[in-house]
């Protein structure tokens, strides 16, 4: 029963035109950044390196595919949660609003199994978005800009990563980003279980992300105590893969906190949905 249910959920997701909006947005934003880098990338690099070039000779293909992908990820990974929320927020509430939820629940599938199938399908969608980003972002950037050592500016230092030492870092970063997006997806699914139309859960999810991001970025003593427990603090931890050395301990902690969010939110979704009266 599990596989037919999951297949049905995936089939429904990929039969909706809205689903492809996410893939389209990612392609459009990525191509715009790549085009901008292709046209004016060298002056961008010169601007970034102006302080360093006075003291060091910087040679080689600095504007390479790895650097362009890093710029794309920095700009885009903050926006992808909206695309994930569009699908996960619609998962239960959209079906409740359309009346198809009662059609589904007259089948012997069970509510817990339905929530788990929708969670899995939404997670698969989030992972596919990231795979698409990997193909069009990393793949196309490497094709157009070539390979090279990557310069990464952090707040207090410049890190140089050798060309042969970068690809695995992207694999790790995409994996970490997948965990972050699944956290967002689960949050949207939780709101979705409580609503009867998709707008509320999508807006609520974005509201929570915006609020938590603001708190994360505000350097105020008031928020210092809660920051370590906000998932938005840990969503950007993928950047740790481009540090030297990689802060594995802190990243593992971030991953565990997001995993805890996923488990708690998923449990809460099942709890709420099992007790819900289907009135629509």
């Amino acid at each position: 029963m599990w596989m037919p249910l999951l297949r049905a959920e995936l089939y429904k997701i990929f039969k909706k035109p809205r689903t492809y909006l996410g893939f389209g947005v990612i392609a459009a934003v990525t191509l715009v950044i790549q085009l901008a880098m292709y046209a004016n990338g060298q002056s961008f690099v010169d601007f970034v390196l102006q302080g360093i070039q006075e003291q060091f000779d910087v040679e080689g293909n600095i504007l390479n595919g790895y650097l362009v992908t890093y710029i794309i990820l920095n700009l885009l990974l903050a926006q992808v949660p909206l695309l994930v929320a569009l699908v996960a927020g619609d998962a239960l509430a959209g079906e409740a609003g359309a009346g198809t939820l009662r059609l589904l629940l007259t089948r012997p599938i069970g509510r817990t199994r339905l929530v788990l199938a929708k969670f899995t399908a939404s997670s698969i969608y989030a992972i596919l978005l990231l795979l698409w980003l990997a193909v069009i972002g990393l793949g196309l950037s490497l094709l157009v800009f070539g390979r090279g050592d990557m310069l990464n500016f952090t707040a207090d230092r410049l890190i140089m990563l050798l060309s042969d030492d970068i690809f695995w870092r992207y694999l790790g970063a995409f994996g970490f980003a997948a965990l972050a997006l699944i956290t967002i997806s689960t949050l949207a699914l939780f709101f979705s279980a409580m609503a009867a139309n998709a707008i509320g859960p999508i807006v609520s999810t974005m509201g929570v992300i915006i609020l938590m991001t603001i708190i994360t970025n505000l350097e105020l003593p008031l928020f210092q105590a809660i920051k370590p427990f906000l998932f938005t603090t840990h969503m950007v931890a993928w950047k740790g893969f481009f540090n030297e050395p990689v802060p594995y301990g802190a990243m593992l902690q971030s991953a565990l906190i997001m995993l805890a969010y996923i488990l708690v939110l998923l449990g809460a979704t099942i709890f709420v949905f099992k007790r819900k009266d289907i009135q629509t």
Binding site: M1, P4, L5, R7, A8, Y11, K12, K15, K16, P17, A98, G99, T100, R102, L103, L104, L105, T106, R107, P108, I109, G110, R111, R275, D277, I278, Q279
Partner: protein
């Protein structure tokens, strides 16, 4: 006695202080068409949703083939196929995709051939590739029936299946439901506020009003289905009561007034009544039959309303 296909025991549903369904019990034996009758807002859909586990009862329990739905969970729903209110289907999918997908979710291995046979049964063969959003209401209802039938359930639960259909669609739906019962031996629970529909189809029926059971039993016993109410309106005739008293119609009279006469009788006697009225020089303005179920239903609900409203009325009078 056979185990009921489905049984409701003391079902009650509160929404805050509002009681949607109150202490409702009934059992549906195998093989019957069971009519569930009530006005809009009487609690029919809430009850049917409780039977399917869509709404959790405030108290009471549902049993499917003798097993508790609360304890056994959704797996018992494999015995049931249902359309609740209207068949809201996946409009962006084709009829076939809807049917195939929902069949796959029944937990049984269902062949394409079986589904094609069902499409033929509901007269949708040749239209299955079209997207459902382009279907008429009648087509959606019929596809809903096919989906409900896909896993060959013991019981079909159909909530207002003729809602939104044109007269031809209603007739087709009625024929289909009777066919499912007679040819395929399905037990059918059908709700409606269209009294005539229940009278045409059901073997047994239950009437609820304001969430409470009013009456339950075989339709023919409850209604004396071979008799109907005949109402005659005529120009005022002061001697009418005396004329009727001296005639063969006296035993059938329900009401007699100067300008109106109501009799309970077999429809075959109507022409004879008409001849008698002409002989007696009664200037008939209108002669009409009233469905006995409609009358029965209205009588019951009006009695109930009087009963329910009486304390409030008494309180109002006392306050005066």
């Amino acid at each position: 006695m056979a185990i009921p296909i489905i049984e409701a025991k003391n079902l009650t549903k509160h929404y805050g202080s509002i009681v949607a369904v109150h202490d409702l019990s009934f059992a549906i034996p195998p093989g019957v068409i069971y009519g569930f009758l009530g006005q809009n807002g009487a609690g029919k859909s809430t009850t049917m949703r409780m039977l399917l586990g869509l709404i959790h009862p405030s108290s009471g329990e549902v049993f499917i083939l003798g097993k508790s739905l609360r304890k056994e969970g959704a797996r018992l729903l494999r015995h049931i196929g249902a359309i609740i209110e209207r068949p809201d289907l996946f409009g962006y999918l084709s009829g076939w995709d809807n049917l195939r997908m929902m069949a796959n979710l029944s937990g049984q291995d269902i062949s394409d051939q079986h589904l094609h046979d069902l499409l033929k049964l509901v007269h949708l063969q040749g239209r299955e590739k079209e997207k459902v959003k382009g279907y008429s209401q009648g087509m959606k209802q019929r596809l809903g029936i096919a989906i409900a039938m896909a896993h060959n359930p013991d019981l079909l639960v159909l909530d207002e299946p003729t809602n939104g259909l044109d007269p031809q669609g209603i007739a087709q739906m009625r024929e289909l439901i009777l066919q499912l019962s007679r040819e395929f031996g399905k037990t059918v629970l059908i709700s409606s506020h269209l009294l005539y529909e229940i009278e045409q189809m059901a073997d047994q029926m239950l009437i609820i009003h304001k969430g409470r059971k009013m009456v339950e039993g075989p339709v023919h016993e409850l209604l004396h289905a071979d008799e109907t109410l005949v109402e005659v309106n005529y120009r005022p005739h002061p001697e009418m009561a005396a004329l009727v008293a001296a005639s063969q119609w006296v035993a059938l009279v329900q009401e007699v007034h100067e300008d109106r006469l109501v009799l309970k009788m077999k429809p075959a006697l109507v022409p004879e009544l008409n001849r008698w009225l002409v002989e007696k020089d009664v200037a008939v303005q209108q002669l009409s039959t009233r469905h006995s179920l409609e009358n029965y239903f209205l009588n019951l609900t009006q009695e109930q309303d009087s009963y329910v409203d009486a304390p409030a009325t008494r309180r109002t009078l006392q306050n005066l």
